[in-house]
């Protein structure tokens, strides 16, 4: 018999009542309460079989108080009245122990535009449905003499924030993600997908992509390191954007003089347009941030010019402007963060990206990317699961994975083409990016 999954989230009216009561009993001058609740499940597979099925339900109640010019934050993962009293008491006790210092202001009420980020199909996805998807990938890989590995997760959750100045915002959301590595005796391929609605994940399409990549990536031979013209698939482009966000799109990084963003200056090629939009449903939308401020669309790079930054309450107050709705949960020393990233597509077909390249490298994805120098936007990492040599406009053979050490801005300065199609990449950490594939003039592989 098939299992019937019923998502187990607290009713919104009950949740709001819980938060209101907590605010009312606070002795602090200002109080903020944030609740996240998640009901998630994951099916993991290796060597063409499922080896792990897990599911969990968890909630976090985080309280920030400002009392006599001092701030305290405490959290707990229960939603009972006793838990609320305990977490509030601890937040106040922490504030009392602090020295008086700069207080991050809480926002006043502002209506956040509701954005639909929910799918009943995802919320009610069963272990059998995940297993059915996995079975297709494993069976196809098995028939091709290959082995499939990966993970398929579905989750439903809600996030609500309220403060004593009158803010109350609430959002429900779902997410389905699947990734797979398929291996042969002498090489592997990769594919992943992410969506709000699990029905958008096509098991045959994913299986065919990863198996095709694995079959083409057997017996790779080394190629000399050096500077090559490259095609970066969407997986790699999205990771570059994520690292740009981490290193430099936030206002705090600029205020602290550690960002590569030089506002008003041309920092990449003119074809490059990057923006953050929490309300665009082709991403993974969120209508307000972790301080309760409604999301604004922010143009970060426009026609290659550094155009804007994302702000939270602290950085916005410092510059006498409004937060753009990009705050992280308190206590936060990282500053605001762009988590709904988009790169504007171009006009090229992906199949044509290599056609004018005399000698270059096709990169499927990056792996283990780390910052080498944030102000110069230099990162290092490896290529993985599908690195190919391009000769005279055609992919001719797989090559062994290469290490790159490269400035992102310099790489994007040589943007020659972007595809008209885009792909949604759900981040391993927070947020998502929708990006095209790219052809870049120069990319340095160092070993």
């Amino acid at each position: 018999m098939k299992s019937m999954e019923v998502v187990r989230l607290t009713d919104e009216a009950e949740l709001k009542q819980f938060m209101t009561r907590l605010l009312q009993r606070s002795p602090a001058q200002e109080t903020e309460v944030m609740v996240t609740e998640d009901d998630s499940a994951l099916t993991r597979f290796a060597n063409n079989g499922i080896h792990q099925n897990v599911a969990e339900r968890d909630a976090t109640v985080r309280v920030r108080v400002v009392k006599d010019g001092k701030t305290g934050v405490a959290s707990i993962n229960q939603m009972s009245e006793a838990a609320a009293a305990d977490v509030l008491k601890r937040a106040v006790a922490i504030a009392d122990l602090q020295p008086r210092s700069e207080v991050v202001p809480m926002p006043g009420p502002a209506a956040a535009r509701r954005v639909d980020a929910w799918s009943d199909a995802t919320a009610s996805a069963t272990p059998e449905e995940r297993a059915d998807f996995v079975e297709t990938v494993c069976a196809k890989a098995g028939r091709a003499g290959l082995k499939a590995f990966g993970a398929f997760s579905t989750s439903a959750g809600q996030f609500a924030i309220a403060n004593s100045l009158g803010v109350y915002n609430h959002q429900r959301s779902t997410q389905a993600t699947v990734n797979s590595v398929v291996m042969g005796d002498a090489g592997s391929g990769y594919a992943d997908r992410g969506a709000i609605d699990v029905r958008e994940l096509d098991k045959n399409e994913l299986a065919d992509e990863v198996i095709d990549k694995a079959q083409r990536n057997q017996n790779a031979q080394p190629v000399d390191p050096g500077i090559y013209e490259v095609v970066l698939e969407e997986y790699a482009v999205a990771e570059m954007l994520e690292f740009m966000s981490f290193m430099g799109f936030g206002a705090l990084a600029v205020q602290e003089e550690r960002s590569f963003m030089r506002l008003g200056e041309q920092i990449t090629g003119e074809q490059v347009n990057i923006f953050d939009d929490g309300l665009d449903r082709t991403g993974i939308p969120s209508s307000f941030d972790f301080e309760g401020v409604p999301k604004q669309r922010v143009e970060l790079i426009k026609n290659g010019v550094a155009s804007g930054l994302v702000y939270d309450m602290q950085t916005a107050t410092k510059e006498g402007r409004q937060s753009t709705g990009h705050g992280l949960p308190a206590p936060n020393t990282e500053g605001p963060f762009a988590v709904n990233l988009f790169m504007k597509p171009g006009s090229a077909a992906k199949a044509d990206l290599a056609s004018d390249i005399k000698r270059g490298i096709w990169v499927t994805r990056f792996w283990y990317v780390r910052v080498v120098h944030p102000k110069a936007s230099i990162i290092t990492g490896m290529t993985r699961e599908g690195t190919f040599l391009i000769e005279n406009g055609k992919i001719t053979r797989p090559v062994k994975d290469l290490r790159f050490t490269q400035s992102i801005l310099e790489a994007l300065n040589g943007t020659l083409a972007l595809t008209r199609s885009t792909k949604l990449q759900v981040s391993e950490y927070i947020g998502a990016a929708r990006v095209p594939a790219a052809r870049l003039k120069a990319f340095e592989f160092t070993s």
């Binding site: 910052v371 230099i378 490896m382």
Partner: protein
């Protein structure tokens, strides 16, 4: 740090953890453990219009942490080192770039610890070897046919997994399958001789588990995790290594780290470096990086510091698994020297 002109960001953090863990099984185990951790660290950042440099103490990326109480924090003497790291951060802004070339490389103990973590700890996890992490953390070049055959390093390299090391973040009484904590060899006199195992994976090789299964919380399943993976002390010292080096670079405190999914091709960067010329420490260098291939690198190890410079380095950010888990592990290490290493990748 605030009194040093040019420092733009000053950071400090402390973390204290008390974990109560109960394990019971139908095989008769009923184990109760209470585990404590304390950690702290400070960092100074200096910036100029086109550069940003940072120095931290005692380690980077947050703090230095151990299975201990507050005495661990006071022993760090953070206040004694604050001025020094602030001055170093500012000095790095005007320091020359680390030159490119193939040179002798001397690592401080904390960077040696991370080198052990990435290039020996992870590839000896037997679940990785069997593909259980293939779609995320990757696999391993240290496949079973290499066991007892691969000359992983020089004879100076002996690496143990020791869950009994005092103050180690990988120190406990029993793992999360109820296996008692123990000390086993991974690398003995340079030879690859053992894995980190679980009950399920060890049985595939006809072995018993050596007790490395840990979950990062109540809502995660146990995975094979490093315990305290230690490079056993040698008989050299940092001063001796420097005095014997004609043309080299000394690197200290990690700044960036990256390694491929089989744990072969790595590149590390450090916050601070000095040139070493004709047995003497020379100029301060910035943006220092080095790269290599794991067995070639460890086989080039010609000196390891002795017990006096050996220390247990806590690492509280080791990621693995789907859903992701973060393990707290440790590495005993002393300064170590390597020959013919590619340095100065960043030109």
């Amino acid at each position: 740090m605030g009194s040093v002109k040019g420092v733009t960001i000053r950071e400090g953090s402390m973390e204290f953890i008390r974990q109560a863990k109960l394990f019971a099984s139908t095989e008769g185990a009923f184990i109760e453990q209470e585990l404590f951790e304390s950690g702290a660290g400070i960092e100074a950042t200096a910036t100029s219009p086109d550069d940003v440099q940072n120095r931290s103490y005692p380690n980077s990326f947050g703090r230095h942490q151990g299975s201990a109480g507050y005495e661990y924090i006071t022993a760090l003497e953070l206040d004694r080192h604050a001025g020094r790291i602030a001055e170093e951060a500012v000095a790095l802004l005007s320091a020359p770039q680390c030159p490119s070339g193939v040179k002798t490389l001397i690592l401080d103990a904390s960077q040696t610890a991370l080198q052990i973590h990435e290039s020996c700890g992870h590839p000896t996890e037997l679940d990785r070897v069997f593909g259980m992490e293939a779609a995320y953390a990757g696999t391993s070049f240290m496949t079973p046919e290499k066991l007892n055959h691969l000359q992983y390093g020089s004879r100076n390299v002996t690496i143990t997994a020791d869950a009994l090391t005092p103050t180690g973040l990988g120190t406990f009484g029993w793992d999360d399958e109820g296996i008692p904590a123990q000390r086993t060899f991974l690398i003995k006199d340079g030879l690859f001789v053992g894995y980190l195992t679980s009950r399920e994976t060890a049985s595939v090789l006809g072995q018993q588990s050596n007790g490395t299964m840990r979950a990062d919380g109540w809502n995660r399943i146990p995975l094979i995790r490093m315990t305290n993976v230690n490079l056993e002390p040698g008989d050299s010292s940092l001063a001796e290594m420097v005095s014997e080096t004609k043309d080299g670079v000394y690197m200290e405190t990690n700044r960036s780290w990256s390694i491929d999914d089989k744990r072969l091709n790595f590149q590390f960067g450090t916050q601070l470096a000095y040139e070493v010329i004709n047995g003497k420490r020379g100029r301060m260098l910035k943006n220092a990086t080095y790269a290599g291939i794991t067995p070639e690198f460890w086989n080039s190890c010609d000196a390891v510091g002795g017990r006096a410079e050996w220390r247990v380095w806590g690492l509280a950010n080791c990621g693995k698994g789907q859903p992701p888990q973060v393990a707290h592990v440790a590495h005993g290490a002393a300064p170590a020297r390597f020959q013919h290493v590619k340095v100065g990748i960043l030109k």
